[in-house]
Symmetry: C2
Subunit: 483 residues, 2 copies
């Protein structure tokens, strides 16, 4: 708790000395009823922007102490996300994504869309049900073993639930009649739910059985062009992580069952990471240990540097596939001489739900979530004083502030919530706010009632608390980037 | 083809008298290369906004004549959507949604989000894998029969792929500790892929096995409050269809295997519709024939009117569920006396992919797609003259127009495409444009080269063609609504 807030908090009176004018739901709780019974201010604030109305635990608890969930707790991000009501466990390795989480995920999806669009990516959406025939053609039906969820339809036909879509996309492109070299490179991607029957799902969203992934597939006229596309995607990935403020290392990687001859992983260094990386102290070289002989300690690139081991969470993976799939499924285009030519392919994955969990894992403390600002569920939380306190007429000013921010800064209109749980102390609500991770918290208290009203603004990133006039608050928040 | 365009088209020369300055991809086709080799104008136009670069059939054909697909053709919307490259068939009842389709679907999702948000809906995302235990508890594991896709995980545990999520959402809310009456009504919804093993998938996206659905679930303090919520959702559905310009009828419906005591369907009248409706000629009464005795011809509401039969495509369905699921799964809240009370529920579905197909079905002709303007994949297509024609220096003006519209009308920035396939005649490209369904097509030809440049604007909705100055074009397009 910030000292200044503590100061205000200590002065809070617990006497109920007048009826609270904050928006109250009628018993039936309908917005129409509420609008009639509530003050003129509350009409400006949508129910979805009142903390009391958000679907999340009404009092954030330490879920580590909750016996129902304790057995499954395995890492910080999972604990924080369950505690904050971002996720709720379902079947092993499957989670409900609750409203605040969906907001963050949709923001992350928009950032990914922007970066993919920037390099010419076109978004499509492929079926989850993949026919066994397709996977038998690529021989992955057997190769994938138990990781593949398999099922039969009512006619007895075999399907799997797609964990990745090389087969599906390649056969799609193969059916594109008259594909011309002029249409290449073709970069097709989707952001959809994927399925993988992990033997031991763990670490919450870091290793689940049902998750969201962005998978992109590229088709090029030549190996050279395909390498160019490959680099362009890797650069887009690095830009993406930079925009999120996440330190990411691009390491040489094994190609696994996807195949191909060139592969990189995008790793966020973290103790919980399941991947072991070797990073050169002298040059840019870095690699997954899988790709090196086990006892190697000298750098194969600069020959000088010593390799230092660290752990990482894999958040992206790129593969240059060559003609592995395009040959099998006959994905070809007409070249300049109008001759059918097999396309060169690459595939590129980003773990969408995994990035969210990994970001929380590496940026947060045990006490609360710190988000990459751009994708925080909400940017600002405004805290009015406790009901019945000496300064509770500042409640109106808090509502006005929410309204003014929405009017003055259109891109923050749905980004500011009012913590109207004024039966709780400022201190308790501040603790909740820091657990949920709002980039900015504005406390409206004593200082807001003074002749020159001041608002106490806590910036999560810097940890700084400042008292600002309304204009200065608007100035500060006007600079907040959203997506 | 419009007469005025025909006039221009006839005058087109086929001689190639200079190098085309339209953006050309280099052989390797990379954006970086293109920027170097292309004109200054083309740099302003993203590859994704050039028709030649869009992932769609390079020449739209009548797929009815395509033997590979002919066997599966069953209705107008399916034919039009395949022909335009919106969808591509995969397994029976499963489709690839191609880039233009994904754009429309994302727009429709935004409209749905807005309307759900407006009535206090909060978006979440539930797992597709639903445990058999949950479905056995509600007895639907047996009741659903072969419509349920079933599978086992590697440990032999039984799952189904959720076609709907009453069980999942009710058990989620049941796990919400200390849910208070103050937090109700609670409206939780998701827009996700659903699975249903249809015996005979048909009519493209109208009856598939894998599809997108918006499913919302409401929790209320009392029957009265639940009815209020029910009406509020029905009103939101009617507003949604009104915004899309779709005539929708809300009819009394059977509750089927979902259960409950009150239900409505939202039907778009259409010959292809699988539902039979009876609509009163005198009053507002309308019902699915399933809910009435078969030989009934007089209206049960006004007693006077005669019931007229029509066919409809069901695009939405609402159910008042009472305590059916909340009782089984113990979803309760603390009432004003702090006593645990079982919540009253409702559930509300919208077929997202089905709305797209149904809209095309009812609004389009056999010749081409007419979209609800708000959710058309792109709002405007600009057609430069044919390469080598007498007026092909107007190409620059077409590129400039795309650029200017993007600068002057920010909300249209990614909504204007340039049909740079200038090896094709204006006539052929116009035909493609009318098949794809752009609300506005702007032909840049002879008139654009005159002293007061004029652009030929074709409005799909009114069918009108007008010659407008650049300012008038910007004025007209500035009024186009987007989402």
């Amino acid at each position: 708790m910030e000292p200044s807030v503590h100061h205000i908090w200590k002065r809070l009176s617990h006497r109920l000395h007048r009826t609270l004018i904050l928006p109250k739901r009628s018993n039936s709780g309908h917005p129409e009823h509420a609008a009639v019974s509530a003050s003129s201010h509350s009409r400006c604030i949508k129910p979805s922007l009142l903390v009391s109305r958000l679907y999340q635990p009404s009092h954030l608890r330490d879920v580590g102490q909750d016996s129902r969930l304790a057995g499954e707790m395995t890492c910080k991000s999972q604990m924080l996300m369950q505690q904050a009501g971002l996720i709720h466990p379902s079947n092993p390795g499957c989670y409900y994504y609750l409203p605040a989480m969906v907001r963050s995920m949709e923001k992350l999806v928009r950032v990914i869309d922007q970066e993919m669009h920037e390099i010419g990516g076109q978004k499509l959406d492929m079926p989850s049900l993949c026919s066994a025939d397709l996977w038998k053609t690529s021989e992955r039906w057997d190769l994938m073993g138990k990781e593949l969820f398999r099922l039969k339809d009512r006619h007895g036909a075999d399907y799997c639930l797609g964990p990745t879509h090389e087969e599906a996309v390649t056969t799609l492109v193969a059916h594109q009649a008259n594909l011309s070299y002029k249409q290449l490179p073709l970069l097709l991607y989707q952001i959809t739910r994927k399925f993988r029957d992990e033997p031991k799902p763990k670490f919450g969203l870091l290793r689940g059985r049902e998750f969201y992934m962005k998978d992109m597939y590229s088709f090029d006229v030549s190996e050279e062009a395909a390498h160019h596309t490959y680099r362009s995607v890797c650069q887009a990935y690095m830009r993406l992580f930079a925009r999120l403020g996440l330190r990411c290392v691009q390491v040489n990687a094994d190609t696994g069952n996807i195949g191909g001859t060139l592969s990189h992983e995008f790793q966020l260094p973290a103790d919980i990471g399941e991947d072991r990386l070797l990073v050169c102290g002298d040059c840019s070289f870095s690699a997954n240990v899988e790709t090196l002989s086990l006892d190697r300690t000298d750098c194969p690139q600069c020959k000088n540097g010593k390799l230092i081991e660290s752990k990482g969470i894999e958040v992206g993976h790129t593969f240059y596939l060559g003609k592995k799939y395009s040959h099998i499924f006959k994905a070809s285009f007409s070249n300049q001489e109008n001759k059918p030519t097999v396309a060169e392919m690459g595939c590129y994955g980003l773990g969408v739900t995994r990035i969210l969990a990994a970001a929380i894992e590496v940026m947060s403390t045990e006490e609360g979530i710190c988000w990459p600002g751009l994708i925080a569920p909400y940017q600002v939380c405004v805290l009015p004083p406790k009901k019945g306190s000496k300064v509770d007429n500042a409640v109106v000013l808090a509502e006005e502030l929410v309204h003014t921010v929405g009017e003055a800064i259109p891109h923050l209109r749905n980004e500011v919530v009012l913590d109207d749980r004024t039966q709780m102390t400022i201190g308790k609500r501040l603790k909740d706010a820091s657990r949920l991770g709002y980039p900015y918290v504005v406390v409206v208290g004593q200082a807001a009632l003074e002749e020159t009203p001041k608002f106490e603004v806590i910036c999560q990133k810097t940890g700084e608390t400042t008292f600002l006039s309304k204009e200065a608050v608007l100035d500060l928040l006007g600079g907040v980037e959203t997506v």
